[in-house]
Symmetry: C2
């Protein structure tokens, strides 16, 4: 079978053996798999991520690395003695695989083909069945939405409070969607890109501003300024954390959901004077994953708007490059069945 792998920092399409499901595992055929910002990070900063004990710790970057963890797939065959949904059932899964060696990540693996492959193994225990009628492309967005739900849950924001979301890439948009699901309506989003700002409004932000024209915190001040906002930093570039600390009103919270791989400078005294809290977040729980799928299936999140492109395995490399242009793309779906 074919798989688009990371090889020396670029994407190559290779032929690999179709995986064989062990006990507790299910062989699935990939229907749709989103390209995640983490995939781009991994291609660029793999060595650093491995050192940090992040996803793919233990991976040998000198060998091919399988990627793709925002996926929907259909069941082909269950492993020995394994209860699984009937063949043809559309499923998604938290991005983890239960193996004889314990819990491993789906994607960022030398050993297990992931979502940028024609077939992959999932764990029966972690499967979520996608309800009939839900587009597999939409179900593939369960994982990033779950990350948004997780960030919002960790922030302890409650209905009636207000939020500022810095950066409207897929994760910033997922945070906006998750805030709306939690009943938070006073959401100010900021992004340099007009296309991303339009998406932010579509996902449920009350305001979407160009921070060069007006800082998000100013918009917050003259629209929602009653309660202290929670600021979600979803850009992940150097300087953004300090910008969020500087903007954040006294006693406020900053949630860091964008991954800045570079060392970054902050001025602790700024945060101390205002007694700020900074919560760093990552990933999601199995429960949040199920909640995300249920919200998508119920049509409560306009995920279709986020999908800006589809490619076959041969188009993955080019899509990695194209995703660096926020005007052009938000979420690109890989469908290995495409030519």
């Amino acid at each position: 079978m074919r798989s688009a792998v990371l090889r020396d920092g670029t994407i190559a399409v290779v032929e690999v053996a179709e995986p064989v499901p062990g006990a507790g595992q299910v062989l699935c055929r990939t229907l749709a798999c989103g390209i995640c910002g983490s995939d781009l990070h991994y291609a660029e900063h793999g060595r650093r991520l491995v050192e940090l004990g992040g996803p793919g710790a233990g991976v040998d970057l000198a060998r091919d690395v399988f990627m793709g963890h925002e996926l929907a797939a259909e069941v082909v065959a269950a492993g020995p003695g394994t209860d699984a949904p009937a063949p043809g059932t559309v499923v998604t899964s938290t991005p983890r695989l239960l193996t004889a060696h314990g819990v491993e990540q789906i994607a960022y693996s030398n050993d297990h083909p992931a979502g940028f492959s024609e077939y992959l193994l999932l764990s029966a225990e972690l499967l979520n069945v996608v309800p009939d009628g839900v587009d597999p492309e939409h179900a593939a967005l369960t994982e990033p939405l779950a990350v948004g739900l997780h960030a919002v849950a960790r922030s302890r924001i409650v209905r009636g409070e207000s939020a500022v979301v810095l950066g409207c890439g897929p994760i910033g948009l997922a945070v906006i969607a998750a805030l709306r699901l939690r009943g938070v309506e006073a959401i100010v989003a900021a992004d340099l890109s007009p296309a991303r700002r339009a998406l932010a409004l579509e996902l449920g932000a009350a305001h979407a501003v160009d921070p060069r024209a007006e800082p998000a915190i100013e918009t917050w001040r003259h629209t929602a300024g009653a309660s202290t906002p929670v600021i979600y930093e979803a850009v992940g570039a150097r300087g953004m954390l300090q910008a969020a600390l500087a903007d954040c009103p006294r006693g406020g919270r900053v949630v860091v959901v964008g991954v800045c791989m570079e060392p970054d400078e902050i001025v602790p005294a700024v945060a101390i004077m205002k007694e700020l809290e900074v919560q760093f977040v990552r990933g999601s729980t199995a429960q949040e994953f199920a909640q995300a799928l249920a919200a998508i299936a119920a049509g409560r999140v306009p995920v279709a708007a986020m999908i800006t492109g589809r490619v076959g395995l041969g188009g993955v490399g080019e899509a990695f490059a194209a995703l660096r242009d926020p005007e052009r793309h938000c979420k690109v779906i890989v469908d290995p069945r495409l030519p």
Copy 2:
């Protein structure tokens, strides 16, 4: 009357008019006033602190600045129409003064003589009466202990959890004392200075380590490693926050109570991979202040051990310099009655 003021970054003893209490104010005679790390910071970084909106925002550094806010004093006379304890009563106060212009800080003021003065004004509303038999020098330590209580309260640590305290200056020691008051016993403290480590044990740390010999987190791991620790960063030097983030186990909390005035570098990805929370804290509430005084009065905190020197107003400048040597000093008390 005499007052030791900050003038062009150094301490000068000057003659100023004895203050006259307004309505709601009480003229008091200073009995004891601790020199705080913030005083040293202010002498060195006053301009930056003013910019940051910290204590003394609005102060004109070109004029003399009154300092001294860890104080015990005796009541001399109440302002017009003001209920106050009888003259001679020993009191302490949260470091704030209620004036016709609103709430101002005691200390870091161009206008109001503070604790490094023979006399000062306190607000009747904010007075805490020091119980009979409590040494005024000990009562003067109420304010720093309250800062420790505040940091510990903000950290939401509970009995049975464990703590690592980085830095055993007066605030690190206050955190240790506050942890013990809250029922936390598994406390690992770290400081480069043997004298400070001895104090940490005296204040109630279970272990006090030289981080050059063994990192505190290692001591924590082989002594208290069951629950995730809360790490209190009470050094306030560049690099300490990142060191705490690097040490902190997955899902842990770092409480920043040491004030680093310089820009500082962190690696956000380290905190993201472990989903750490960072809480920046400062100051204390009136309630925490009263709790701190009650704990001192009840003999529950061995504050006497922290006091390593006494000076009159003429010795304040020299004490500022001497306090930079942790082997020599921890807390120096200014007693304006001394020659």
